[in-house]
């Protein structure tokens, strides 16, 4: 059995090609250009939707940050809004107190969120399962309460107003039509996506998948599991923080909603709709959720959330892996038919 190669030379050749495929998984495929081409088309064709478009983009980045911890590292979290909100308030408070430079403000939002991720991760990641879930929830709730209490900086219930965001590079002011905001968000989200994509295809990213699939075995392989989880938790927090900062800067307003449990939950629903652990679940799930929300609330303004819930139940029952999972199965079936 060890000499398949000599008996059937074609098999050995097939194996070599298989290894080649394995080693090329990080290469870009044409389909991956689709979200970005769509985003550019939106800019060119439907300029009236740019403010909404910018919001969709920031939410995609937020969902991407959740995918990194949940989909890749298998860390179940209900507190992702903690980092989103931290980023939003950081950028917002800076802009309201005389530092309206957007790029450094955005990076500051990411950095402070990363710090919150690192410190809370040191505590939270010592637990697993339900305990972990509850602790992430607690972190978000604590921050929510703190932001509410500290109304002298955050504006509390009324929200933080008086933000003044400067033009990008001192050249491109944020205009009324949201053109600058849209392009700014698009560029930042693209860079963040590119970095995330690199991360998940790196050996570190692959080892996260190992941790998700079997922690026991990763420990037996001598992997520093806790350290890896902490690193990815921190990175994810930074991404969420950047998303929050973008929202704050482009809407020039921050309120307590950015830290709400509702936001942590909704982002998971969006992600599950699109497909968890696939990098593109966010790009499919977020627009889908927003379109569904729009359509359902037009049909049924009072009970629209019921229909979202029903959609969710259907996805969980019949479309494990979300829309992208469904798509994969469809492609597989077509391929079988063609062969």
């Amino acid at each position: 059995m060890a000499t398949y190669g000599s008996v059937r030379p074609d098999v050995s050749e097939a194996n070599r090609r298989a290894v080649e495929t394995f080693a090329r998984r990080h290469r870009y495929r044409p389909l991956e250009a689709l979200p970005w081409a769509s985003a550019l088309l939106v800019y060119a064709l439907v300029p009236t939707y740019l403010p909404l478009g910018a919001q969709v983009l920031t939410t995609i980045l937020f969902a991407l940050s959740a995918d990194l911890v949940l989909g890749y590292a298998g860390i179940i979290t209900l507190g992702q809004a903690a980092f989103f909100g931290t980023g939003a308030y950081t950028a917002g408070i800076l802009a309201a107190h005389g530092w309206g430079e957007p790029i450094t403000g955005m990076l500051a939002g990411g950095a402070v969120a990363a710090l919150v991720g690192l410190v809370s991760g040191l505590v939270v990641l010592r637990t697993t399962g339900l305990a972990l879930l509850m602790q992430t929830l607690v972190v978000a709730s604590l921050l929510y309460a703190a932001a509410n209490k500290a109304s002298f900086i955050t504006g509390g219930d009324d929200g933080l107003s008086g933000m003044h965001v400067w033009p990008i590079f001192g050249i491109f002011p944020f205009d009324l039509y949201g053109r600058t905001a849209y392009v700014y968000c698009l560029v930042v989200v693209f860079v963040c996506w590119w970095l995330t994509r690199r991360l998940v295809h790196s050996p570190f990213g692959r080892s996260l998948t190992g941790i998700r699939e079997n922690v026991l075995r990763m420990n037996a392989l001598g992997a520093p599991v806790m350290r890896r989880q902490l690193i990815v938790y921190t990175i994810s927090a930074a991404l969420a923080g950047i998303a929050g900062a973008l929202l704050a800067q482009t809407t020039q307003f921050v309120d307590l909603n950015v830290l709400s449990l509702d936001r942590s939950g909704t982002v998971l629903i969006m992600l599950i709709l699109g497909g968890v652990g696939r990098l593109y679940g966010a790009f499919v799930g977020v627009p889908l959720y927003m379109i569904a929300q729009n359509a359902f609330s037009a049909i049924d303004p009072v009970y629209w959330y019921f229909w979202i819930g029903l959609l969710m139940v259907l996805v969980v029952l019949f479309a494990r892996g979300g829309v992208l999972g469904l798509f994969d199965r469809l492609v597989d079936r077509l391929r079988l038919r063609w062969q």
């Binding site: 495929t21 394995f22 990080h26 050996p203 570190f204 079997n214 075995r217 037996a220 001598g222």
Partner: protein, 251 residues
Amino acid sequence: MSAPALETRALSKSFGGLRVADAIDFRLEVGARHALIGPNGAGKTSFVNLVTGALSPSAGRILIAGNDVTDLPQAARVKRGLARTFQITALFRRLSALENVTLAVAERDGVAGDLARPAGRHRRIIGEAYALLEMLGLAEDALRSVDTLAYGRQRLVEIAVALGLAPKVLLLDEPAAGVPSSETHLVAEVVERLPLDIAVLFIDHDMDLVFRLAKRITVLVEGRILVEGQPAAIAADPRVRRVYLGERNRR
């Protein structure tokens, strides 16, 4: 050559009143093919867990190649060349066989913390993982996800993952457990073909397999070493027949 690959000195572990390891003095020589047998509940798996660091001992010392590792965590012992397989297959089930082994090789090689370069660029890692699969006759299954493989093949992947760590000491916890008897010879052949610089300690209930592979056998009963010696001596020992083989006959 004087220090054994693995040694325990008066290794003990109690869970409340239950002594799962009772002053075990054990030596696994370099290049050994050593079997640890004993009736159910004798403490064999607990012994493996103590040695790997999954359990911490109540008393006693553990040495790898003469170095005391008793106070080192599991990961540090792996770095010193200690690898194990699990009685119940513990693989990354939804990942391919090649990915399973690649993760192990990357961990050992220290590239697993690399955040920047694509994993696919680490050709050496993938090549080494693939060579291991080939050696165990698993090349055909390299890209198939592990949960689609027959259980016997999964057991081989389990061994391949451990070998990916390039161990000096390999602990095989019932490598043929759950494998249909028609396929146990696959596991046996793999163990027979392991390089001689790896010291192998394996646990199994399958006496045919034990006597086929082992050059030396230790019999563990109620957390204590009952007797240790050459296979022929063990087979002839009346105490072993009474405690161990007797139990088998009753079953």
